[in-house]
Amino acid sequence: MYQIAKTPFSEMIVRISDMAWIPMVEANSDYQAYLAWVAEGNTAEEWTGA
């Protein structure tokens, strides 16, 4: 499960299982996994904080 965090200067994806902060960069394999998760019909909600 993922959430989208509005950070001070940009946005990042937060992987909730391990609180990993994932940049929205095509070559990042964790971002690719996020995109695959979205392609399965899932939607990331706004990050609610740690």
């Binding site: 965090a5 950070t7 990042m12 992987r15 391990d18 609180m19 990993a20 990042n28 394999s29």
Partner: protein
């Protein structure tokens, strides 16, 4: 020393010269994440030894660093079905290469070599260890967890292990088009695992060549630097108590930002994680007060740097500089740009 003209023009140097081995950490010297962990089905948690990713579709197996017990090597990777485990799911370990490396090997003769031995209770059929060198034509990816595009099994065979180390060597020619590359080993256990149902492997080398050369032992610092293109443990409280993370500038009484340069340029903008908890990190304010951090997040991840965003309950003053320190053996910050 003359360079064999038969190998043709290449940025990869032939026998006798350095950097023959295109695999990183083939001697299993670098273990930034730790030295023992269970296999998982998740790509994001599959790495333990640097550059080596594991996979098993069931619980009950472990990858770990062990003393090699082999002249010329300090460590080996042990892939073990835990004692009493009855699952026959395969256990895979593999290392995937970037397109920048795969393309240089396209249409070239290569030799894959490694040392391996079995534990006393190794249960794989006929003591077999599956060996795979796979090439694909798609975007660089972790081949242990992702199917390659138009995958070609350049080497696909079974090595027969004994309880003593043997060196295995395999010869092949890479496909004319190669942008994905994987070296992988796996076995499936049979029956109920005994105490020593494992194989150990080290000295894994893939080189552009017509014949195998001795495993290339690169200096530790060189191998570590190669690994840090893909993963960096930027702080480890278990190794260095009170290791400083970064200097931050407070933006108010409860938080601030700090710029952190990565140890070297990474493959891509990394995923960032921390072990932030109540007392894992400490913020020493400009006034000298020790403030427990209650938040650590990240921003502006690039291959060269990122921004650390911290939070405390109170006690900072906007504009002041403060220091963020490890305060626990559990404190760690990781940057991962793995395939």
């Amino acid at each position: 020393m003359a360079i064999s003209s038969g190998l043709g023009s290449s940025a990869l140097l032939p026998a006798g010269l350095g950097f023959r081995n295109v695999l990183i950490n083939g001697g299993f010297d670098i273990w930034q994440r730790g030295t023992s962990a269970a296999f998982t089905t998740s790509a994001s948690t599959s790495f333990l030894a640097d550059r080596w990713s594991g996979y098993r579709g069931a619980a009950g197996s472990t990858q770990s660093r062990v003393s090699a017990g082999l002249d010329g090597f300090q460590y080996a990777m042990r892939v073990q079905r835990d004692s009493g485990n009855t699952s026959v799911f395969r256990q895979y370990i593999g290392t995937s290469l970037e397109t920048s490396t795969a393309t240089k090997l396209a249409n070239k003769p290569v030799v894959l070599s490694f040392y391996a031995r079995a534990g006393a209770n190794y249960s794989s059929a006929s003591n077999g260890l599956n060996v795979l060198l796979s090439s694909g034509t798609g975007t660089e990816a972790n081949g242990v967890h992702v199917n390659f595009t138009s995958a070609t099994s350049v080497v696909s065979t079974v090595a027969t292990l004994t309880t003593s180390y043997q060196r295995f060597t395999y010869f092949a020619t890479m496909p004319a088009t190669s942008s994905q590359l994987l070296v992988q080993f796996d076995f499936a256990g049979v029956g109920t695992a005994g105490a020593d149902d494992y194989f150990e492997i080290t000295g894994v080398q893939l080189e552009q060549n017509y014949q195998p050369t001795p495993f290339e032992q690169r200096p530790y610092g060189v191998e570590l630097a190669l690994c840090q293109r893909y993963f960096q443990r930027l702080l480890n409280g278990a190794d260095h108590g009170n290791e400083m993370v970064v200097t931050v500038q407070a933006t108010g009484s409860t938080g601030g930002y700090g710029f952190k340069a990565l140890l070297m340029t990474m493959r891509t903008a990394p995923t960032l994680t921390s072990s932030q908890s109540t007392d894992a990190f400490l913020c020493k304010s400009a006034g000298g007060n020790n403030l427990f951090m209650n938040a650590m997040t990240f921003d502006l991840s690039t291959p060269r740097s990122f921004l650390l965003v911290i939070g405390v309950a109170s006690g900072l003053a906007a504009g002041d500089a403060s220091i963020v320190l490890a305060n626990s053996v559990t404190a760690k910050i990781d940057a991962s740009a793995e395939l």
